[in-house]
Amino acid sequence: MTTTSSPQAESDPVLARRRNIQSIAARSFGRRQLYSRVALAVCGVFLLMTLIPLVSVITYTAQRGLQAWSVSFFTKLPTPTGIPGGGIWNAIVGSLIIDAMAVAGAIPFGILGGLFLAESDGRIAGGIRFAADVMSGVPSIVLGIFAYIALVKTLGHFSAIAASFAIGVLMVPIIMRASETALRSVPRSLSEAGLALGARRAAVSRRVVLPAALPGLITSVLLALSRGVGETAPLLFTAIGSEYFSTSPVKPIAALPLVVYQDGIQAYSDLQTRAWGTAFFLVLLVLTLSIGSRLVAARLRRARR
């Protein structure tokens, strides 16, 4: 590197320091560039490693499951092994009923609880927040046993409503914590504006904070739904599964995860294929719910602008 050195520059400490820093920067550039590329490559490798299970789960279940798919697979009732042409229609309807009742029951507790957590910083809120975090860590099979004791033993038989109860209990803490985050992200200046106009806190929550957080609230519900749809353990003690078509909330009912579990462990290959087909359907369902929740939230946010 060539630098013109004048006697004046030698004596000027700023100029000398600038030249020194620039020469260090130029000399170390190659090393720093290499470091940056290595770091980027490491990140890429780890990203790939996390994507491999996701992609292989989807492709493998697709491979095995797609052979089961046909129109009758989605529209017919199951047939005994050896008799072709059966489907999982009763399990689709069963899952729909269980999860619809679960989400309907969980929304009021989840969102109002989230509102309380977002609005209050007191000790009670801290306790509830801790309890919700513990609850979301409880193994789902425990919730199944809880629902079994609470509803199956008392009613005397397995039922869809008991399954909804177990799944709903599982959903409440998820909705609560996610909607707390969504409600907290509503700018404080909005609720202050409402209060400064003479509004009571409940009115500000209902007319200002909840509508402003709506995209996030929808995401929190869909997140809980996508979690609940795939849960199997709570259904084992509650819905128990069924070969028949049922829409009754107080009778045993079929459900998609139960088909995967119960048919998948059979020795007959046609039942195993049905389990794979159902598994792939579940994977797509959960994927659609997750992607859909993002799209809904993004569209709602855009409409506001």
């Binding site: 910083d121 700018p187 200046s189 909005l190 202050e192 504006a193 409402g194 209060l195 400064a196 106009l197 003479g198 509004a199 009571r200 009115a203 500000v204 007319r207 200002v208 509508p211 402003a212 709506l214 409409a303 506001r304 602008r305």
Partner: protein, 285 residues
Amino acid sequence: MTDPDSASVTALDALDVATEQALEPPPLHAPVMQVRDLAVSFANRTAVRNVTLDFPRGQITALIGPSGSGKTTVLRSLNRMHDLVRTAKVTGQVLLGETDVYGSGVKPALLRSRVGMVFQGPNPFPSMSIYDNVVAGLRFNGVRRKALLEEAAESALDAAALWDSVKDRLKAHAGTLSGGEQQRLCIARALAVEPEVLLMDEPTSSLDPISTKRIEELLGELRNRLSVIIVTHNMQQAVRIADYCAFLLMGEDRAGQLIEAAPTTTLFQRPTDQRTLDYVNGRFG
């Protein structure tokens, strides 16, 4: 109501008397708001103390001073916004007319419908249309009659110099307006409740010069309607718009305090305190 001219003259005298002798009885034509020995602390740290100040009726009073001098803290104590902060403690007295703002029978929500507020940045309710934003305060206060809502909305939008540009798109989302228009919408929203006092916390600090100018222009006209108390860090703005100015400064204990209050021309040209002179001449702050 008294004749506005005579009221302003006596209120001017009242302001001078009040700042010099805090315990003097209220003058004949009472100021719209009075602050007596106000102190505000957050979690035992005093943010502002010893503020005794009268706000003249039907005039614009500016609270000026450098950052940390407690301007916003004083402003927010006037409509009890500190109630929302658990650790906040307000002592002293704030009067709205004859009413003790912190008196036991006073409902903060009802007080805030009499003392409106405009915030630092535009904060229209994003889920509501322009019209719903303007009448939000009325609805919060239980007004349901459509004729009254529409009449108040037009009057408020007109006073905020926004009616002509939005009258054909009242159902549009508030977010479709520009930043300056949004802030004027927030002013209209505050005016629609017909408050007696309007508190403004640096209402133009996030706006461009042209939007700022429009808001300053409409402020002058608001005098006919209500009394304005405005926080500004911009001394030129205070000179342009305010009839009265109160200068606050952070003391050695890091708590803000009132240095002096006077008609704007007096405060800027012949202040009694050396610190005011230094500040208005740009020597610090």
